[in-house]
Subunit: 227 residues, 2 copies
């Protein structure tokens, strides 16, 4: 039996469970962005001691959802245009690389499975027109598959474990909707086609554009909010 990647490992310890709960709470804005994290309060709220809670906080810091200062506590990260640009700058590059590697590394069956996934999304999208949650989940699922397809464990770790929660936080709290939703499907299709043709260079380019378009969408929302 081969070891599954930590990113999709199910929680076994109390720290794992509380981590997932707090992650969800922060990503969905249930715990407000910029607010202070109180260890005693969270410990009471989730009914466990501070030891596993602190373990969870360490991992939250790892995925950039909180910022800790020694002896002074932790704060939930604040969303900003500058932060979004820095994050997506990196994402464009890394997921572009993931595409290039996936074009070399993914097996034909893996590629077929991703195509099947896209067809599945397309049909469910026709039914639930404009339903942004499914789009969100479907988009993530697509990106995950490509990233895993790169077969580079360090790259997988950075994207799936360390950056994606923050990406989701921007997307959930600032919303992705409008005409982007339907276009994203076409872009996904073009990307997997390039990978199927083993054209890593093109897949890289298309993924960068895909992510840049997504960034502009959120950037606009952020600026609208700011004004």
């Amino acid at each position: 039996m081969h070891q599954v990647h930590p990113a999709l490992r199910q929680p076994v310890t109390a720290a794992d469970r509380v981590l997932q709960e707090i992650q969800r709470a922060i990503v969905e804005g249930d715990i407000a962005a910029g607010s202070k994290i109180s260890e005693p309060e969270l410990a009471r709220r989730f009914d466990l001691s501070r030891a596993p809670l602190r373990e969870a906080l360490a991992r939250l810091e790892r995925c950039h959802l909180i910022e800790r200062i020694p002896n002074a506590g932790a704060r939930v990260v604040k969303l900003s245009v500058a932060g979004l640009l820095a994050l997506y700058q990196l994402r464009e590059n890394l997921e572009g690389l993931a595409c290039k590697l996936a074009a070399e590394q993914m097996s034909d069956t893996e590629i077929a499975e991703v195509r099947q996934l896209l067809d599945q999304h397309l049909s469910s999208q026709r039914v639930r027109e404009g339903e942004s949650y499914y789009q969100e989940a479907g988009d993530l699922d697509f990106h995950y598959r490509i990233i895993l397809g790169s077969k580079n464990s360090y790259l997988i770790n950075i994207l799936c474990d360390e950056l994606y929660y923050l990406v989701r936080m921007y997307r959930v709290q600032l919303g992705m909707n409008g005409p982007r939703v339907s276009r994203a499907f076409d872009e996904h299709k073009a990307i997997i086609n390039a990978i199927a043709n083993r054209d890593g260079e093109l897949a890289d380019l298309l993924m960068r554009r895909h992510i840049a378009a997504s960034r502009r969408n959120i950037e606009l929302k952020l600026q609208q909010m700011g004004s």
Copy 2:
């Protein structure tokens, strides 16, 4: 007063201190690659309780120096050709990006400081011909400056906090020496020149080649050892 980057923050807590000690021990092979980490043993050895030690272990996992399995403990990472390739594949891309950004973001004074640093290295190299430790430290210093020059905090975090200890581990344990040492200086010079000319594309290319050359050097060593 603005906040310094965590990468060069000095230790304030016991967990910070023991982290640095264990990091050094693993990187330099003082704690053997592939060996099991025993929490009680390390706690005795560094004369502290398991709480700060576990905090340190969490961060060691973050920079890929150990691998943990829930309820089963931690092992020091094993060096391998496959791991080296995956790591350097990522490094080429990320430091290439850092160069591109540095060409846009670094101030003229920052660039001048890096040039001064290189001159300094060159003169000290002439005196200590072939001294690999200084080369090692100097090379790291150069790369750090470029990375910090990118001004992208996520990129800085990944390279300086999460990947560089492992890079150093490969370099220290498998050694960088021979003709590479003197060539690296010239390559550094060419890279900072490209950045000074605000030619991000060239700086990117040169850095990728620089890192690829370094990889081949270590790869050779690893294969010699394996046979």
